[in-house]
């Protein structure tokens, strides 16, 4: 009887590892997976619809947007109580790039520039 109870409460090794992952790592991990999924889907779409140039731009964007998250999850492990170092500056840089990128996409206004073919309503 005692043996049976012991067997039922045994947690496999892989599950123990999962439970050991902190809640905020789970949150960040799921966010990263979602980001990767969306960006890779868009990247794939560009090649599939015959737009290789757009595909390469998307690969670049995927690296800028999603790669830092992977590094944060697996590579960024500062000691508690330690001084700020290179990895911390890299972290700030990542967030700064994202803020600038999104800010540019979001707030750079539409203007009727004169294009290479001439401005349609101003010339001729």
């Amino acid at each position: 009887m005692e043996m049976a109870e012991k067997e039922m409460t045994t947690v496999p090794g892989w599950a123990q590892k999962l439970f050991a992952i902190s809640w905020y790592t789970w949150f960040a991990g799921i966010t990263e997976a979602a980001l990767l999924l969306v960006f890779l889907l868009v990247t794939y779409t560009q090649f599939a619809q015959g737009e290789p140039r757009a595909g390469w731009v998307m690969i670049l964007l995927t690296i800028v947007v999603a790669a830092p998250g992977i590094w944060m999850l697996f590579g960024y492990r500062p000691q508690i109580g330690s001084k700020l170092g290179l990895p911390d500056y890299a972290l700030f840089l990542c967030f700064a790039i994202w803020v600038v990128l999104f800010g540019y996409l979001m707030f750079w206004g539409f203007q009727l520039y004169s294009g290479p073919y001439g401005s349609p309503h101003l010339t001729n």
Partner: protein
């Protein structure tokens, strides 16, 4: 310092979750447009003086002028075989493909009109009938179907004349509702190839297919409703103001380029309509972010070779919208996509539209869905469109447009008069200027036209020597399946049937053939004159 990794990961989570919420408009939509009530506007478009109908165009006669007006008189058109054998530009494979495709279907256009069953069938209920008819249209090939309530005065949604200028007599009480169906027309590749290629085949086959679907769906639906005992008239792109009616039916919004932009397929749709008095449950106009996106995007404006797309909104005939200058658009079509290619193939405003990306890919569908929900997504994705597909060389169109713009300017130098202040005119203003352009800049001038679809080809299609060949413009002798000999040019002048206009008719767009209905009496002099001007015989002429 405390656990910096915890704060970094939490910051990562919060930042991208926030961006995700902003981009998708979850849980709240961001930036919805004003929806105007019927007396003040149509969907997101306000208008003055109840002048909804002018969202699109004045009347069919004007549209016919746009499509067919201002042609110089042309020489013999040649047969299909002449087009393949002797046309100077293009190659035999390209010429054969676009010269043999049938556009639209006379059989189904004839089903647009007809007698109504005098015994009305008992209907199960408005809602069931609406669902049933929508399903029928979808089974016939429609991608989406909407119902528009045209109100007590439906005539303002309908054309006042046919393409010959003859008044049309729609009865208001018989046309209260419009069943509007759209079906998908995929983009063609650019630039159009001059000979054997997938692009050439794709362009002409998809246009051919979609003119057919227009007629097929509307014709079948109209005759079905008439057999139930209710009035119904089918329309392809003629006699009804398709875009406003489609907007009223909730199928999309009008864009900067003047086209109907749907949420799922963007501008890649064609519209056909059935107006009827069978009682239906109407749909309502939608806000899917088109007005907002078009305000941020300038692709069609930038790429239009005729500079026909407006920079800013204005009240054009009552409605506040971007008014396409159809006169300039017409000029651009006449100049042609390429001096060697059929002139009717522009569609650049559609090709560069961010909404024209194929709906087959879930990523594109996701983008449109985000745009319909969030102003933030509109800002970001319009910019992303520039990054991905290039702002100034989208789909490698730069060379094509540069060449076309140059020829457009050439044509201006030799005397095209700008009538941009007029919304719609006869297209070309000066026959002499056009002749000068064709004779001095491109010596040889007008020798012949392609017949039908090649409206406005500025370049000679045939050499003088070829046109003097005995077989030019005539069919060879052949035998039908009953073994009867059909005489051709080999049988001498007496036996030669001359031009086969039925063959030429095949390449005339459906819109030109809408006068087929019983409202046009056989052998009518006006219609005959019109047909004759385009090298056609009046199909209602006895013996045709």
């Amino acid at each position: 310092m405390k656990d910096r990794r915890k704060y970094a990961l939490l910051g990562f989570f919060v930042w991208w979750t926030l961006i995700g919420a902003l981009m998708t408009g979850i849980p709240f939509r961001i930036g919805t447009a004003t929806m105007y009530p019927p007396e003040k506007g149509l969907g997101t478009i306000p208008y003055k003086d109840l002048n909804i109908a002018n969202l699109q165009r004045e009347n069919y006669n004007d549209f016919a002028s746009f499509a067919f007006g201002g042609h110089p008189k042309r020489g013999p058109y040649g047969t299909t075989f002449d087009m393949v054998n002797y046309r100077k530009s293009g190659g035999p494979f390209a010429n054969a493909s676009w010269n043999t495709m049938a556009f639209g279907s006379g059989d189904f256009i004839r089903k647009f009109y007809g007698p109504v069953n005098p015994h009305k069938v008992k209907l199960p209920g408005n809602e069931q009938v609406t669902q049933y008819l929508k399903e029928l249209a979808k089974q016939l090939g429609a991608a989406a179907v909407g119902i528009a309530d045209l109100g007590p005065d439906p005539l303002k949604w309908l054309m006042s004349t046919d393409w010959t200028g003859r008044p049309l007599h729609f009865k208001p009480e018989e046309n209260r509702y419009a069943i509007v169906a759209v079906h998908i027309e995929e983009l063609a590749d650019h630039p159009f190839s001059k000979d054997m290629s997938r692009s050439t085949l794709r362009y002409y086959t998809k246009v051919s297919q979609n003119y057919f679907y227009d007629d097929y769906i509307a014709g079948q639906l109209a005759s079905y409703i008439r057999s139930l005992g209710y009035n119904a008239i089918g329309h392809n792109n003629g006699y009804v103001r398709s875009i406003p009616v489609a907007m009223l039916a909730g199928l999309g919004e009008v864009g900067r380029n003047g086209l109907l932009l749907t949420e799922k397929w963007g501008p890649n749709v064609r519209i056909n309509t059935v107006t009827t008095d069978i009682p239906l449950i109407p749909d309502k106009p939608v806000d899917i972010g088109i007005q907002s996106v078009c305000g941020m995007c300038s692709k069609c404006y930038d790429y239009c070779p005729g500079r026909a797309v407006a920079a800013e909104k204005a009240y054009g005939y009552g409605a506040l919208k971007w008014n396409v200058n159809n006169w300039r658009c017409r000029q651009a079509i006449q100049i042609g996509m390429d001096k060697d290619i059929d002139a009717s193939t522009c569609t650049l405003c559609r090709d560069v539209c961010p909404f024209s990306k194929s709906e087959e890919f879930s990523a594109n569908r996701m983008g449109r869905w985000m745009v319909s929900r969030s102003w933030v997504a509109r800002k970001v994705l319009v910019k992303l469109d520039d990054w991905l597909y290039s702002k100034w060389n989208k789909h490698d169109l730069k060379e094509l447009i540069t060449e076309r713009r140059a020829r457009f300017k050439e044509s201006q130098k030799v005397g095209y008069v700008d009538k941009s202040d007029l919304w719609m005119t006869q297209g070309l203003s000066s026959e002499e200027a056009r002749h000068k352009y064709a004779t001095e800049i491109y010596p040889g001038g007008w020798k012949g036209g392609a017949g039908g679809a090649a409206f406005g080809d500025l370049f000679p299609l045939y050499a003088e020597a070829d046109m003097k060949r005995p077989e030019f413009g005539k069919w060879p002798t052949w035998y039908d399946i009953w073994g009867r000999k059909i005489p051709g040019y080999q049988d001498g002048e007496k036996g030669a049937p001359g031009l086969d206009f039925a063959a030429v008719e095949k390449v005339v767009p459906t819109v030109a053939l809408s006068g087929y209905g019983p409202i046009v009496p056989p052998g009518d002099p006006i219609v005959s004159q019109r047909y004759h001007a385009y090298g056609l015989l009046d199909p209602m002429t006895p013996g045709y």
